[in-house]
């Protein structure tokens, strides 16, 4: 039986009130959205918090809205709705597919898109009960001074494990944070920091309220591939999102590949667009370039023993999933999943 530690529960009725509470309590408070990440972590005593600020009663930060050339998704929108929304499926298939593969059906009803973006990093040495962690000896992320993944390591290497993060990165999403001092919009690429203890640059007191996607037309192709042990519930052993935009002559205009569950931050592979640009759909040159992208990703991605799954196996799967997900995007057959 895992019990939650005691805390003071706040249920603000407005965003302004939520921001004021977060500003007042700072590091002693955590934001509660869907709860599927925060509550297990609280039960495992990974956080020392006295206050939990629930967003359950906040109006207006759920749902989808077209704003000019952008599609805006409220941060509290459940992942199940993101996965099945026709506009997301049409304009951002990689995001819909990634959301459809997060954890299991119940988690997707509860978990929110904002919560998945803000998901804490994971490591097989930290996502355990306090009893287990104490018996082993604590680690850098909480209570300890050593890293159990990298011998002698001084920097936490817990892995970003959010399925939607790489999809949002390939789609050029931006995030809106609101705090007691104002509103800030940043490209999602700028959110990530290579530090497993806290892999996000969100400032103290900031609450994620919106995820904004630039609308894409019929020439956009995207897909998400997920490697995991079972067909459900599990976090990714590897997540791969791709975007391929074609021009009117069916040649690649732009492309991006992003991966997650490797290191503390999701990784956008640089140089993918240069390898694929200008190549015609169905050509041998494009097939060869897809293979070159797969090999480039293999070179850039070096998984660690931070999450379950043998790191050599996970590395060998990098080119496999990059190749399959690129093809699935072009064929419209995503997501890439073993079930």
């Amino acid at each position: 039986m895992l019990r939650l530690p005691t805390f003071q529960l706040h249920e603000p009725a407005s965003l302004k009130e939520a921001c004021a509470l977060f500003a007042e309590h700072g590091a002693a408070a955590k934001i509660l959205a869907g709860g599927t990440d925060l509550l297990p972590n609280l039960k495992h005593e990974i956080y020392d918090v006295d206050h939990v600020i629930s967003l359950a009663k906040l109006p207006g930060i759920t749902g989808f809205e077209m704003q000019g050339h952008d599609l805006v998704i409220g941060a509290l929108t459940p992942l199940a709705q993101v996965a099945t929304n026709p506009n997301i499926q049409k304009h951002a298939p990689a995001l819909a597919q990634a959301a459809s593969l997060v954890a299991g059906p119940q988690h997707r009803q509860m978990g929110t898109l904002g919560g998945n973006v803000m998901l804490d990093t994971r490591c097989q040495w930290i996502n355990q009960s306090y009893f287990w962690r104490e018996a082993l000896g604590f680690c850098l992320k909480k209570d300890g001074t050593v890293c159990h993944v990298v011998e002698g390591g001084k920097k936490c290497v817990a892995a970003a494990s959010n399925d939607t993060a790489p999809a949002l990165m390939t789609l050029g999403a931006s995030l809106t944070f609101v705090s007691a001092t104002g509103t800030r919009e940043i490209p999602i690429e700028d959110l990530w920091v290579a530090d497993g203890i806290n892999n996000k640059s969100a400032r103290p007191g900031e609450i994620l309220t919106e995820i904004r996607l630039p609308l894409r037309d019929h020439t956009h192709h995207g897909a998400y591939g997920k490697l995991r042990e079972r067909g459900s519930i599990d976090f990714p052993l590897l997540g791969c999102a791709v975007r391929i935009d074609l021009d009117d002559a069916d040649c690649v205009r732009d492309a991006a590949v992003s991966l997650v569950a490797l290191q503390a931050r999701p990784l956008l592979i640089k140089g993918v667009d240069a390898l694929l640009q200008g190549l015609k759909l169905g050509s041998t040159e494009l097939d060869q370039a897809i293979e070159a992208v797969a090999q480039l990703a293999h070179k850039k991605c070096k998984p660690l023993d931070n999450i379950p799954g043998d790191k050599d196996y996970r590395r060998r799967m990098v080119p496999v999933y990059v190749r399959r997900t690129l093809r699935a995007a072009l064929d419209g057959t995503g997501p890439v999943h073993h079930i």
């Binding site: 895992l2 599927t36 629930s54």
Partner: protein, 163 residues
């Protein structure tokens, strides 16, 4: 302590519980509704599944307070709801699980049946693949999945007859 107003199985109930208690703990230890099982307690197993406004959710990862304003259905609520709608015998899902012997130790069964109930409410004629996806958040540690799948398919037939 916090006074909660909950709608459980159609009944409006007032219950006092500490703010850090999950809905699962409120159900089991304040209301005596022990049909909802406490398994892993961290969202891995699905044994604590309840329906929140008809959707399957994990009561071990939901604060009791967050359940306010929503219609909660636990396994204890299926039979009364079926009878209230004029149905005879057991709820079609419960009846199908009984007929197919879709249990071994029985611990996962309430969560399995509620996930199946939610699926059939949305899709009365699911395929085997639909059922596998819908039940994929519920683990059976006895691995009795074959009969569970058969029961969900049988329940779909019976639900269609009822409709």
């Amino acid at each position: 302590m916090r006074l909660l107003e909950l709608e459980i199985n159609g009944d409006r109930l007032h219950v006092a519980a500490p703010p850090h208690w999950t809905l699962l703990e409120v159900l089991r230890y304040e209301l005596g509704l022990t049909g909802t099982k406490q398994g892993c307690d961290k969202g891995d197993c699905g044994a604590c599944t309840v329906l929140v406004d008809g959707k399957p959710q994990l009561s071990c990862l939901m604060l009791g307070s967050a359940a306010q304003g929503h219609a909660i259905t636990t396994i204890e609520g299926l039979l009364p709801a079926h009878r209230a709608q004029g149905g005879a015998g057991a709820d079609p899902v419960q009846d199908a699980f009984d007929r197919c012997g879709a249990l071994q130790c029985g611990f996962c069964q309430p969560g399995m049946m509620l996930s199946a109930k939610a699926l059939l409410s949305e899709n009365p004629t699911p395929t085997s693949t639909d059922i596998k996806h819908a039940l994929s958040g519920n683990l059976c540690r006895c691995t009795g999945y074959t009969q569970i799948l058969e029961a969900a398919l049988l329940a779909a037939t019976k639900t269609e007859e009822v409709l």
